[in-house]
Each structure stands twice: as structure tokens, then as C-alpha cells.
């Protein structure tokens, strides 16, 4: 059974441009919707605050793993049980983590970005998502709004 996620996206931008968007903490924050405290440093914890409307109460925390220029950027991050407002903040250091990897490959038209997230087999079985569908259906919808907002008009 597959316990990882893989996405491949063709980007019409040079590898160096994509690398900057991924690893410059301010640029990463722009598209990921997070305000990070400082630059990414391998082996160190990256902290910040989600800036997506309605989710500003959620903290960002990840441990930067690898930064191989223009090839690989990776970090681990926790999958806490709850992000509900009013709940106690999860202790991120104790939550099970997954590994997120961004790999870049040069193509004729720009860059192939391969994203993988793995390690879901370490998560407890109770992280199920009936409630996600019920309560967070609006999240997906809002993401689409933002997408159309930032996409350049022809």
C-alpha cells in the first residue's frame, strides 16, 4: 500500500528561479502563505505563522533537512492531531513527522519539480478526515480563490 504522495509539476521558469522561490524564506512564505521568522538552515528548526485567512492561529514548524543547491530541498514537519482554535497548541517536537522533498530537474522549457511527502505510515490511525471534509471544505474553496487571484491575467 502506498504511504507517500508524489507530485510532478512543469514550471515555465529556470531552475535557479524555482530554487529561490523554494528556499528563500520570504519567497517561500509568499506562495505557501506563511510568515517565517528567518532563513532556512539545514539541521535547524524553521518557525513561523500561517498567514492564510482564517488559519492565522496555526504555527508553522519544520526541521530543514537538505539544501543541495538547485537540486534538492527537504524538511520534516509534524502532523498534529488538531489545529482547532482554542485547543492547546500541539507540542510539535512530540508529534509524528513526515518528510517533504522538493527535487528540481532542468527541462527544455524550464523546470520539472517533483514533490514527495513520505512517512505517513508513522502517523496514528486516528488522523482520519471525516471531520476535515465536514469542517474544512471551505479551505479548498478558498485556495481556489487565491489561485485565481495570483494567476496573471492574460
Amino acid at each position: 500500500m502506498n504511504d507517500s504522495i508524489e507530485k510532478r509539476v512543469e514550471l515555465r521558469a529556470p531552475v535557479s528561479r524555482v530554487w529561490r522561490a523554494l528556499t528563500d524564506y520570504r519567497e517561500f512564505g509568499e506562495w505557501f502563505c506563511v510568515k517565517l521568522d528567518g532563513p532556512f538552515v539545514p539541521g535547524e528548526v524553521s518557525r513561523g505563522q500561517i498567514t492564510y485567512p482564517g488559519y492565522e492561529h496555526i504555527r508553522w514548524e519544520a526541521v530543514v533537512q537538505k539544501m543541495e543547491p538547485e537540486r534538492l530541498f527537504s524538511f520534516t514537519w509534524p502532523h498534529p492531531k488538531s489545529f482547532e482554535k482554542g485547543d492547546d497548541l500541539p507540542d510539535y517536537s512530540k508529534e509524528p513527522s513526515t518528510l517533504v522533498e522538493f527535487r528540481l530537474e532542468k527541462t527544455a522549457t524550464g523546470t520539472l519539480l517533483i514533490l514527495t511527502e513520505s512517512g505517513f505510515d508513522k502517523l496514528p490511525a486516528d488522523r482520519r478526515l471525516e471531520a476535515f471534509r465536514r469542517n474544512d471544505g471551505g479551505w479548498t474553496e478558498q485556495m481556489k480563490n487565491i489561485e485565481s487571484y495570483v494567476t496573471p491575467k492574460p
Binding site: A13, W60, A62, E84, L123, A125, D126, R128, F132, P152
Partner: protein
């Protein structure tokens, strides 16, 4: 870190790892495939057509049971086993939601790096 809310479901063990481990074996996977029609099967019936002994099949069923993938029902002197799809559905649903969030984030990244205003 995906955005999602408390499930409201009482914390359920076993861990996801156990579900993946239970399914990572060809004998157990074929047992699940048989049990998928949601009918209760006796151990004798599950052993029929298999090269494995009744004891071996029983051992595999116990592994599936401990992962919450099957449960046994007493039927007279024999145990019957029934498939419980919930652990598999839970994992798939979770992966789907994380996957969906990545689609959205990567689509924002795409707009970001392809937009000339950000060069």
C-alpha cells in the same frame, strides 16, 4: 503540516504503521482480497485452495485482526472472519486531503515563479 481539524473521533489505535505492515504481505493481501466482498468466511474456506496450513492462515488473520482490518465472529464451533474497511478508508482519505493541499500549494508556486512581476 496540513490544515485540518479535530476529528472528534475517539483516538483509535492501532497505528497506521500496523495497517501498512499488515497489508505488506502477499498472503494477507490475498486474504483481504477474498474478504473484500464483505461476507463472513470460515477459516476452512479461506484455507481452501491455499498452499498454507490452517494454522498459518489463522496466524495471518490474527495479524489482520490486530490491525483492525478484519474481525472474527463465532459461528458455532468455528470462527468466521469479516473484513473491516475502515482503516484503509481512513488512510486513503487522509492521504487524499494532504495530496489536495499540495495541489493547491504547488499551483500557487507555479503562478508565483511564472509571474513576471516576481522575477
Amino acid at each position: 503540516m496540513s490544515l485540518r481539524s479535530r476529528s472528534g473521533v475517539v483516538e483509535k489505535r492501532p497505528a497506521r504503521a500496523r495497517v501498512f505492515a499488515a497489508l505488506g504481505d502477499s498472503t494477507r493481501l490475498s486474504l483481504v482480497a477474498k474478504l473484500c466482498d464483505r461476507k463472513p468466511y470460515s477459516i476452512s474456506r479461506l484455507t481452501r485452495g491455499s498452499k498454507l496450513t490452517r494454522q498459518a492462515i489463522t496466524k495471518h488473520l490474527r495479524v489482520l485482526e490486530s490491525a483492525g482490518l478484519v474481525h472474527s465472529i463465532r459461528a458455532g464451533r468455528e470462527s468466521h472472519y469479516e473484513f473491516d474497511p475502515e482503516p484503509i478508508a481512513g488512510i486513503r482519505q487522509y492521504l487524499d486531503s494532504v495530496s489536495e493541499q499540495w495541489d493547491q500549494a504547488l499551483s500557487r508556486l507555479k503562478s508565483f515563479v511564472e509571474d513576471c512581476r516576481h522575477q
